[in-house]
Symmetry: C2
Subunit: 357 residues, 2 copies
């Protein structure tokens, strides 16, 4: 293990000079600078980030906390954060907390102990989130996709109420009366707000809100499956269902299929988040697409802005989702007489900024 001391000795300078050269400080003789740099290269010296962090009390690593690494929405978001960080020469510490508050605490403690320069988090809970500890320690935090109600931090979200409202309204406009919802936990922003939008849409159209049609639980596919099964067992099963994220849609879809039902004929489905593989199949799902890449990009830019100017005013940014019509809501079949041209019209381009919680 080669240390700065070794380099200093070899280059016939002091420790401090080596450090100065490495930081690019101006007050170093050119000749010395060149000699030190050559020695560094020749010896293959890599400064210890650990020692530097200890000394400066910060690192050039930023933490990113997501609740599901297998959900394309979050991986796209992570991808965006990583792109921005790489441009800024920061490494990303990606933590997958699996919608599990204990894991979230573990990773947040780890990041604190590792003295990360900042954190982008999509919090599992809106309140009592473990990340208050980061805020208290003065580490910049940006909340993305979901909010933290009891913490004052920069936040980037998508308008969930409007998204769910529009999705539900779309089903109502189809003539659907018995619309169910399967959504995530009430103490997560996305779970709560998508439910809100759904209810508001029903009420605005003078429809009854039926408790049996409302499933509030988790954002995992297992929950989507279980809930859909329960919905289908009702004496009056719903004729349409709104699934509040992508894994829930997967689970619900499987339940529908196992019951031998056809979409959209027997039951209509409208999902939240881009179903990324929609371009790989001829049957496609109708969904509210979220600008996940932009979400990550904006979040990480806010983070760097905060790192560079800790006292600037807190920003809360909200983006809009957009409805993508597929076959699962039953309206595309009517719109298209030529199935040949239909699907290709919604083929997405090869943009790395894929969309898609």
């Amino acid at each position: 293990m080669i240390t700065m001391k070794d380099v200093a000795r070899e280059a016939n300078v002091s420790n401090a000079t080596v450090s100065r050269v490495l930081q690019g400080e101006p007050h170093v003789r050119e000749e010395v600078r060149v000699r030190v740099l050559a020695t560094v290269k020749r010896m293959g010296y890599k400064p210890s980030r650990v020692a530097r962090s200890l000394r400066t009390n910060k690192s050039s690593v930023i933490g990113m906390v997501i609740t599901d690494v297998q959900n394309p929405f979050f991986t796209t978001l992570a991808r965006a954060v990583e792109d921005v960080c790489y441009e800024n020469n920061y490494a990303v510490f990606l933590c997958h907390v699996d919608e599990n508050i204990e894991k979230e605490r573990f990773y947040i403690d780890t990041m604190l102990a590792e003295k990360v320069a900042g954190v982008v988090i999509s919090p599992t809970q809106e309140t009592n989130n473990p990340s208050w500890i980061l805020v208290k320690a003065g580490i910049p935090v940006v909340s993305v996709d979901r909010r933290m109600l009891d913490l004052t931090v920069d936040t980037v979200t998508v308008d969930n109420i409007s998204g769910a409202y529009k999705a539900t309204t779309h089903l109502i406009d189809h003539g659907c009366r018995d619309i169910a919802i399967i959504t995530g936990p009430k103490n997560s922003t996305t779970g709560r707000e998508r439910l809100e939008g759904y209810i508001k849409a029903l009420q605005d159209h003078q429809m009854n809100v039926i408790p049996e049609y409302i499933k509030i639980g988790s954002f995992k596919s297992e929950y989507g499956y279980k809930s859909m099964m329960e919905l289908l067992k009702l004496s009056h099963p719903p004729t349409a269902v709104f699934t509040a994220n992508y894994p829930i849609a997967q689970g619900a879809f499987n339940a529908i299929r196992q019951n031998g039902l056809k979409i959209p004929d027997d039951i209509k489905l409208i999902a939240y988040d881009q179903i990324e593989l929609d371009t790989i199949y001829d049957t496609s799902i109708t969904y509210m697409a979220q600008p996940s890449y932009d979400l990550g990009k904006i979040a990480s830019k806010l983070l760097f802005a905060r790192i560079n100017a800790p006292e600037s005013p807190i920003q809360k940014i909200m983006l809009e989702p957009s409805l993508h019509i597929g076959h699962s809501c039953g309206c595309l079949a009517q719109l298209l007489s030529t199935p040949e041209t239909g699907p290709s019209s919604r083929v997405t381009s090869f943009n790395p900024k894929r969309k898609g919680d």
Copy 2:
């Protein structure tokens, strides 16, 4: 920021005693132990991992390097590594190198500088991989999914030659004669070996290997799209195509659709890696499934074994992929007279160990 010194003062003991209590050393009076622990808790003290790393020259973070965060194969793999690490109280530093050797070097340098305890890597290149620097520094490295030819490290892979051989043979058994392949770079294990299996299958069946039908480039969807477009423009376009990973399949699929062709009628497709969303659509792709979760699990277990016993013999483990029949190769339609029961028979369970590079 509360330090160990603060705790020591408050608890009326020395720095060393606090440290001993925290490490669980036996030679501490029970009364003192309790008092220190109480003080730690009361003050909300979190030991600095940075300082500890500097002192002990290692950390309880392991690095994971993957080439594509948006590929379900890799996220499943990452998920497995993370599960094992969490059980062992290690945090995972997930690095996404985007099939880009410069990013790979950047992250490997970062991990070295951060003194990670070990690294699980799916290397971009088989030779001259930047991770030699980790090996040289004595940091345990496990190679997963892809090999490193010039480095002696524990390795877990899936048999790509056999997988590609079987996939190609399946198409040949369908009567396909004009089979194209789109695969990743030749200097990646998976790109090279899947090509090998394809060629071997053709030769074993006395078929010509046609250079125009072989596309070797990258594992990205853009490449799959571009290559498929080129293949379709040939005067004698192929009647079947084998795509060597999931993004390539996505790209190729789009190209096929944009040309107004039907799968499997106009062209047959067989993919590598589980198309995870197959359960969400009625049309499905035939693919070679890889045990990606197990791959990650075994890799991380090897890593911990190596961390605990650096001198134990190097292990190379190879798993087997398995063929999943869908509609895209054209044989399912014949097998099934009742489409209703067909698809549901291949519905995968809600196992977090999803399969699927």
